[in-house]
Symmetry: C2
Subunit: 451 residues, 2 copies
């Protein structure tokens, strides 16, 4: 069933129903194969322990490009290639943040500069800390109040949302805009409370953006450090001193990695992917090593089980999702230039946790058709098809009219470790990771057979 | 609505529907309160780090009895008491397992005696290892073949089941019966491959049982040790030597801990509980410290939010679930003697992971009524009400006709660490644990308002 638009929903329902038995057998084969013989976990160990974190523009990233190409060949791809893409080169360099109370000595705080942030050129920059608890509070401050100050945005990650992505989304403007807002009113640099669901001393990095204002630094501190600093500020003035040689160092030619198995019936593409780059701390295990090895697992499973794929199944390991999305943008551009038809694209970039659903960003007819297959997924703990977003790297495709989607794993643990030193292989559970790979493979299978 | 049996299902459906709005507001309040102010996680840290593992009959267990009573008082219980119960006293003592190939030296294996197993009286017991891969294979062996041998039951935990409890259930007979089966055919002791979903070197203990045969020892080894031993056995004979002073040391008076808030309308009991005892390794964090602190959280939340409870809400911290279920049996017996009416009882003993459902062991009418409330739970990731089992400690109540249930958390990680040194506080995620406490509180609330 190639053409779905305009087909009545009743017909869609019947089709889905009619295929249930055969499909449920194939779903079970896929799950059993992956849970027993899946390679995602051992490959993730290899990626995280032998290459480690891999920020765009780094040597480690380029190693991971060769690694991914080889893994795609090993998995049985008919064709593997690198897609050129220019990426920004941001370098952390040395960084330190110290504080001092009126009568105290300088004390170092555990911190991370935010990604893309400029530094202090290796010089000390200091000033009095001014704490705000929210944007609204900051908006009320005059430039006179902020001038030469260090603004500390102590906005807590909301614990109230069941899905932690909502808490992340709620707090993320503090990370992206703290520096430019501080610069606008003449502040020297910004400190933010990390976007963290945990109550620990782990700072979280992540992308920030500059506007037209002066490019001043922005750094993050962990939750407990933020609480301790807030307490100090209640008792008197606190001075902060930052020394950082972080900064953007131009651009560099890099690559996304692509592998595919050719469609038996046509060359229309079903895409499954994640991003190969990570932040420059930890090991980029959940974010998004997990998505990379899960995507490769999809291809491997099709080959291993000899599932005849009607359409081309393509794995894309996107470059530079974290600080530029240049890989995703280049991919969309190239697809357009080459007039490639994409039937469906799904990304996995929310951690290698137990899957709970698939979020669907597409027209109602296709969306309802996929929701009609929900009962096939239910035995695998996948029940939630209500989300309406899709992977960051897929927006260029989405804008070209391609139905896009994202795997929705359990979100409770993700923002404890996201963009931190703690995002390591040890935080990934083998079965959870494989279950996610199973859901992706099942989704690709059912789309391949119905679109 | 007190009397549900005999009421038409249509009426049940309408009732559930009519209450959805008010109930969904209360569900949200419960979730928000627990995610923001829940104490389960910090209390679990206290229990695991300051008391640690707490096998029935041990001093640590008795400390945990005082701890639980105090926590129930702190949570706002109107009444807290200890229920006397005689429990078996099993002591691990010293234990070592060594192997030697024909030309080799003795080599120690990481191992744990199974719980309730007798030892070797502190003497070396050795013999040739005979490996079987399954019960069927063992059944074919003659007593002559087994006599004086060490039988190694190398049955792997099945990875194919999506719910790991099914893999556990499938393999558990090897743990419970390996010793008695080996004794029946004249073997000296039994070694089992651990009931583990992980591929690591962590041995898992857990209860075994003796029949009428000679009480010979049974020990467990981790997955990778089992694989290595199997490989050695392919290349020739291997001798094993066990020295163990494990054994059962009679009985002891101990206690379950009970706390309750009195019903505003009547004294019928809604029970929520877990088991306070653990195995004598690790910290008993997921099994079942998590269930204890979650159950106490239910009571705390009712008090904190001043939810008027129609019926008595009772938290039971059962003694001796792991190696005798004496706490559960005594509780049922006492309830019968005192002619106490239990409306509903739910246990949480499957780990402090993200909740996915509630398993219901009760008549169809009540079951369908609860399933009719499913949409209230869905925003909290709780969608599965298809299970038909309930907590081990609740079977005596179930046998008396009480509708019983169990919280169903995500099962992917549980059997990696179950009954091992790895079942520590660090393996528990704060939000996952609190989400489970939320589900329990919501379930108690909705039952309290409808039964």
């Amino acid at each position: 069933m190639k053409k779905i638009l305009g087909t009545s929903l009743l017909f869609l329902g019947l089709t889905a129903f009619g295929q249930t038995k055969e499909d449920s057998v194939q779903f079970a084969k896929i799950s059993t194969e992956i849970l027993n013989n899946g390679k995602a976990y051992t490959e993730l160990r290899d990626l995280t322990k032998n290459i480690g974190h891999r920020l765009s523009g780094s040597e480690a990233y380029e190693k991971s490009v060769q690694w991914a190409a080889q893994k795609l060949r090993d998995a049985g791809a008919d064709r593997v290639w690198l897609q050129d893409v220019m990426v920004p080169v941001w370098v952390r360099g040395k960084e330190s943040l110290q504080i001092r109370t009126a009568n105290g000595k300088w004390k170092s705080l555990k911190m991370l500069s935010l990604g893309n942030s400029e530094g202090t050129g290796g010089k000390d920059v200091s000033g009095e800390i001014l704490m705000v608890r929210s944007m609204q509070e900051y908006d009320k401050l005059t430039p006179e109040q902020v001038k030469d100050k260090i603004v500390f945005f102590n906005y807590p990650f909301s614990q109230s949302f069941v899905e932690t992505f909502k808490g992340y989304s709620d707090a993320s403007k503090y990370r992206t805009t703290a520096a430019s807002l501080t610069a606008k009113k003449g502040g020297k640099f910004a400190i933010i409370r990390s976007l963290s669901s945990a109550f620990d001393d782990v700072p979280h990095t992540g992308a920030m953006r500059y506007g037209d204002d002066k490019k001043i630094p922005a750094v993050a501190i962990g939750s407990t450090t933020a609480d301790a600093l807030a307490e100090l500020l209640q008792n008197g003035k606190v001075t902060a001193k930052l020394n950082s040689s972080c900064g953007m160092k131009g651009e560099k030619r890099s690559h996304s990695v692509i592998g595919e198995i050719t469609g038996k019936k046509d060359s229309q593409v079903i895409l499954v992917g994640g991003h190969l780059d990570s932040w420059d701390v930890g090991e980029g295990a959940h974010d998004d090593g997990a998505g990379i090895v899960q995507s490769i697992e999809v291809l491997r499973t099709f080959k291993k089980l000899a599932i005849p794929n009607n359409h081309t199944i393509r794995v894309v390991c996107f470059a530079n999702e974290e600080n530029g999305v240049k890989g995703g943008i280049q991919y969309g551009k190239t697809a357009k230039e080459n007039n490639e038809k994409h039937l469906f694209a799904i990304e996995t970039d929310a951690g290698g946790f137990s899957p709970r659903g698939v979020s669907l960003e597409m027209d109602d007819a296709r969306r309802k058709q996929i929701q009609g297959w929900a009962k096939l997924f239910l035995p695998y703990g996948v029940y939630d098809f209500t989300g309406t977003f899709s992977g960051t790297d897929l927006y260029p495709l989405h804008d070209m009219g391609v139905p896009t989607a994202e795997l929705v794993p359990d979100s409770q643990r993700y923002f404890d470790i996201h963009h931190t030193e703690e995002d390591t292989f040890e935080k990934v559970n083998r079965r959870e990771l494989l279950m996610g790979a199973g859901t992706l493979t099942q989704m690709v299978y059912i789309i391949d057979n119905n679109w």
